[in-house]
Symmetry: C2
Subunit: 440 residues, 2 copies
């Protein structure tokens, strides 16, 4: 795509859309940009969805495949249908809401996000992008705008657990992963069935490269840089790769009262030194790489027993896969020494891997243009978080729009984005979808 | 008691017992020592009890108040009744099996142990002492030996969780502790009820100082010193005090991909440095004190979330309470600095305390004499583990008999004591009980 196509007049962005004028909701390019999208309705819908799985102390626990997840998805499915979309659940549990375009030969423009959360998470991660996508579809319907391409609003299943829905569609999901245990307590396969999917037919949801015209996802930044530097919109250059391991530390379980300190093979002590070492190794070289131990369990887990085994997670993220590998090698090497110091051993089992994914330059340009048209400031930046967009990058041109996260807090009840920032993001999404519709 | 009373002839030890001769099981002092006690039956009973809560990979999870605990207790209650004991469950859930003595004015000699285990524990901790006590009673009955004192074989409830049964009897249990959550998932009060007790009437099980003539407990050492130095019997000088805290580390929960390493308030990292520091501080001065972090949980506990909170246990043990306090003060002081380094805070909440308890010199002498009579080697030693005996020390003269633990391993499926060592311990228990019966 030639980026120059989108500079100049606003109307140029809508060249591909057929506008049906209506006495009730007369559509103009200007109304579509400023009034055709109902920001109050959007923010009210975000608030309404937050009730599903709301925690008493704030935030939400709407983990994938839980009762709350299913109830929240029923709520957004109703919104999709009210927006005139033909909503259905695919075999992987993803919800697709489709509306046909005017040119049957064209591939769909896909946009959306997810509504599942981490345990004890916030009300904006995924939700902002999902409900903004529905709002865009609703506004297009009310504005009688018919796109050339089909549009597909998508709400992905189980993003937080590891992009299970989108990786099913991109063909990256491996069969054994269906047996993985999830936060809801079920396996992935059981969870897909619970949401109305059919894991035995998962191959049928797979699409091939070229099956989509574009994929665009609006999301909160989940970091603090946009707010700190007062930038309205982040234009995502690429998404970091994520690798995860289950780390097992094996020592010797023994009585905490009768085993002298110098005769212990304490798996907890070795695990503690491991956590400290990971932090040191990850920070040892410059860059934006991160490393986290988020879960740790000691066995048997009694105050009066020296743990004989500890299982913890290790997660590394960077846009450069070779750097991630180099850091992991250093960690594994140092863990050996940590274990040798008190007679324990370390074992690493890879549990998850998302390759880094770059966004499409043309989609980046669309997003940038749409933002500038609205007189918003932009910054091109990587995404430290994983997103369904990285799976979609396998199928066609991908782009992401970030809006500021206050204080950079995410995966927390304190996660927050302002209504104004969400409105700006949704309007840029609208502009980007309409601009993408001009693509061949 | 004058120790010299027990030197000299074996028969001297039995001076207080009325021996009923029988054609079926003729009793002599010699038969009581060598054949009257059926070591094969004892070891078979230990094996049979190990089936209740047996883990597939070995060892046992028969935590107090669980279904397995209740079933195991029913099994030992049957053994007690078969031994001619009047077995009943008290309001705290302890099982007492009593047989009257010939002198109604005398207080009982109490001996026994417990049958509950830690999660993923072994088959000898508590079990050896409980079943040996029953075997002693059974052999006395079969030998038609009637003691002067009443004898009470006791199987304490919930030893591993913190001596709940014995501290009820000694009056040391505080009412709020009845609400404590236990490994079985129930509260202590619910657990006592589950075992046939009545926590609302717990005050009625309390005994006063002087209500018992003696308390004697046989137990595995749970450390490796007796086996290492080829000593048959440990004569316990005293039991270490135990203090426990719940430690809460509070940081800032955040997204593991978007939060730069230098902007994290990672509760897991602070907790890890705490575990390492505890090890260093406890080892900083000479002595047998120990410190353990046996349980640790991070919240929310997801691989892609920086933990905002970690809760772990801290346990310190020593025979010198002032030393334990000094070490705790040092740990709490250093924890403050650990927290300051990454913007986290530490909070300590005392959860449990057992005061150190010394055994009675006369009972120690009885045990030593009984062992020497059997030509066994002895060592006087402290107990690093807590035991119900320390609660009983509040009520009268207390003593404990240790037998070797192979490899010093305990609170583990690998816990093991040989059948020969168990037999030796049971015989010393028999000798000690009969000697104690000569006390006024």
């Amino acid at each position: 795509m030639d980026r120059r196509q989108f500079t100049g007049s606003v109307a140029g962005a809508f060249v591909g859309a057929v506008v049906s004028r209506s006495p009730i909701a007369p559509f103009t390019a200007s109304s579509m940009r400023h009034g055709g999208l109902d920001a109050n309705r959007l923010n009210a819908n975000i608030k309404a969805l937050s009730a599903f799985g709301a925690n008493p102390q704030g935030g939400v626990s709407r983990v994938a495949y839980s009762d709350f997840d299913r109830a929240g998805r029923a709520y957004v499915t109703d919104l999709m249908r009210a927006a005139g979309l033909d909503a259905r659940v695919d075999f992987a549990g993803n919800i697709f809401g489709r509306r046909a375009g005017t040119d049957a030969a064209l591939k769909p423009i896909v946009f959306g996000s997810h509504v599942d959360s981490v345990p004890d998470g916030g009300n904006f991660d995924g939700t902002v992008g999902s409900l903004s996508a529905i709002e865009v579809a609703q506004s297009l319907a009310e504005g009688r705008v018919r796109t050339r391409h089909p549009i597909e609003v998508v709400v992905w299943a189980n993003e937080e657990g590891g992009l299970y829905g989108s990786r099913s569609v991109s063909g990256q999901l491996k069969a054994p992963e269906l047996d993985n245990r999830t936060w809801s307590g079920t396996t992935v396969a059981e969870g897909m069935t619970f949401l109305g999917g059919a894991p035995s037919r998962i191959d049928e949801v797979r699409r091939q490269h070229g099956d989509i015209a574009a994929y665009i996802e609006l999301h909160i930044e989940q970091g603090g840089t946009l707010e700190r530097d007062a930038i309205n919109i982040g234009v995502v250059e690429g998404i970091v790769g994520i690798r995860r391991w289950d780390v097992t530390v094996t020592g010797m379980q023994n009585h905490a009262g009768t085993t002298p300190m110098d005769q212990r093979h304490d798996a907890m002590l070795a695990a503690a030194r491991f956590v400290d070492m990971v932090n040191r190794v990850v920070r040892a070289e410059p860059g934006r790489q991160v490393g986290t131990v988020g879960r740790l369990e000691a066995f048997p887990g009694a105050p009066n027993v020296i743990p004989g085994r500890v299982v913890c997670t290790l997660e590394l993220r960077d846009v450069d896969a070779s750097k991630t590998q180099r850091i992991f090698d250093a960690i594994a090497g140092e863990a050996k020494h940590v274990g040798e110091a008190n007679g324990t051993t370390f074992d690493f089992k890879a549990s998850h891997e998302d390759a880094p994914a770059l966004s499409d330059p043309a989609i980046r340009a669309i997003i940038d243009d749409a933002a500038k048209e609205l007189k918003l400031t932009t910054r091109h930046m990587p995404s430290g978080a994983g997103h369904d967009a990285q799976a979609m990058a396998q199928l066609g041109p991908m782009g992401m729009i970030f809006v500021p996260s206050i204080g950079g807090i995410s995966h927390s009840p304190k996660e927050f984005s302002t209504a104004s920032d969400i409105e700006r993001g949704a309007r840029v999404l609208m502009g980007a979808v309409l601009r993408a519709d001009t693509l061949a």
